[in-house]
Amino acid sequence: MLELTAVRAGYGTFQALFDVSLDVRAGEAVGVIGPNGAGKTTLMRVISGLIRPTAGALTMEGVDLLATPPHRIVELGIAHVPESRRLFPRMTVEDNLRMGGFMLAARPKFRQRLDVVYELFPRLRERRRQLAGSMSGGEQQMCAIGRALMSEPKLLLLDEPSAGLAPIVVDQLFELLRRIRAGGVTVLIVEQNVQQVLRVVERAYVLKAGSIRAAGSAAELSDSATIREAYLGV
């Protein structure tokens, strides 16, 4: 579904990704784990078009992402839940969700998608008239995921969804991710919470200092010393 080949990217003279290649197949959940500053967020931004790579190739279902303007990448079925949520804090929950369904193809399905999201996150329905910025961290994360789901994506990119949340909320979050997956959405998730994430994904890549250091099934990686090395050797 999603394929990255030898992608390089960075900010100005700082290079954050070195020849990263990875692929995500339809229906899978794939994790990207690695220490702080490994380039995980950059990787997500490159896929969703927020930054352009300096070299390499990216395709989504065979469509060249580099030939697609950034604001049209969501139309290919890629929805990105950015790091630290990035809700519109002074807009209501429902207006935030409306922005998630901004693209023309999603507008006629607004009510229908809203029902899907509210079904998944009943708390959002209760708070639909509340300003997004006034909610708790967990609720905001639900809203950010709900906003991404409004475009009926095939591939959901999640960047550190558990960051800053209380442990009990993190458990709920990963439970919800299982339900979203069960709905047929493919997931690529970046996390520092390695143990939790390896329980939701089938495969994962280990990213460190901008390159892929290891890849394997969740079970393999859980036992592997590479992971411990990646974290302890920061």
Binding site: S48, P70, H71, R90, D95, M99, F102, M103
Partner: protein
């Protein structure tokens, strides 16, 4: 009610009427700033051109006044688009000071161009609207009309912002510019729509102001600074804040002008602004961040 009270009431009413027009002026500037993050220093000069547009269409070419007004709104809207495309868009990545200098340059360019093209004589529509006498108070018809039209325009903008996808994108972009592509929003398109809308609001303001004021190349100096101060007082980019600040300013001008001369009203208003900048530098309606 004594004579004094009637004067005060009349003054307060005139203050409200002035406030409506000032609110319209600040709305256009605030929209552009909130969405594009650039201050159109030359905003009042767009209004000046619109006033000339009205003068030529109505007084010189005898177009029906409603046709002239609609044409004027459309023309200044197009001017807004041109300003964005030619001056702002190429400078979007530049330092804010360069953007200010560029739109400041446009201000002087438009003033000089108007002087060359239209001369420095004061022109007016040659249209006298009646003054209404209600319960012993005098309220000018042109002010009432301006207030009503400004209010309708603001309601329309409010509906646009709250009821349409484009409006939602305009509000959202003011809160988080970088992630707009993730929502499928083409920011360049929203910038253009906003600039056209900002220009059209300046065009409407021109139609309303030309009913009350003569037009000359420097007439923008009468409205420009006060519009900018209102926006700052209401927290630049905050639509609601600008609205409230406009009425506060208008009442200070109006009531100050009642007890002393009209000019003293402006002195009080600007003094109030300076004091407020010490007391609440983020503006009246500053958000807790």
């Amino acid at each position: 009610m004594g004579v004094f009270d009637i004067y005060l009431l009349e003054t307060l009413i005139n203050g409200v009427l002035l406030g409506g027009v000032l609110a319209l002026l600040s709305l256009g500037l605030n929209l552009v700033f909130g969405v594009i993050d650039v201050v159109w220093i030359c905003y009042a000069e767009l209004i000046m051109l619109g006033m000339y547009g009205m003068y030529f269409l109505y007084t010189v070419y005898h177009a029906p006044i409603v046709v002239a007004a609609v044409a004027c709104i459309v023309l200044v809207g197009i001017l807004g688009l041109a300003l964005h495309t030619l001056v702002i868009a190429p400078l979007l990545g530049a330092a804010p000071i360069n953007q200010l200098l560029a739109t400041g340059g446009v201000l002087f360019f438009l003033q000089s161009a108007a002087t060359v093209l239209f001369g420095i004589e004061f022109k007016n529509l040659g249209l006298r609207l009646p003054v209404l006498k209600v319960a012993g108070m005098f309220v000018s018809y042109s002010r009432l009309l301006a207030f009503g039209a400004a209010l309708i325009a603001m309601v329309l903008v409010y509906l646009l912002l709250t009821r349409t996808y484009t409006g939602a994108a305009i509000r959202a972009i003011a809160q988080d510019r970088q992630i707009m592509p993730l929502m499928g929003v083409d920011t360049r398109r929203i910038y253009l729509i906003t600039s056209g809308l900002g220009g059209a609001l300046a065009g409407l303001a021109a139609c309303l102001l030309v009913l009350q004021y003569d037009v000359h190349p420097f007439v923008g100096l009468t409205f420009g600074p006060i519009t900018f101060l209102i926006c700052v007082l209401g927290s630049l980019g905050n639509f609601g804040g600008g609205f409230v600040a406009a009425f506060v300013f208008a009442e200070i001008i109006s009531v100050g002008g009642l007890y002393l001369d009209l000019e003293w009203g402006y002195v009080f208003a600007f003094a109030f602004f300076i004091v407020m900048m010490f007391v609440r530098p983020e503006g009246l309606m500053a958000r807790r961040s």
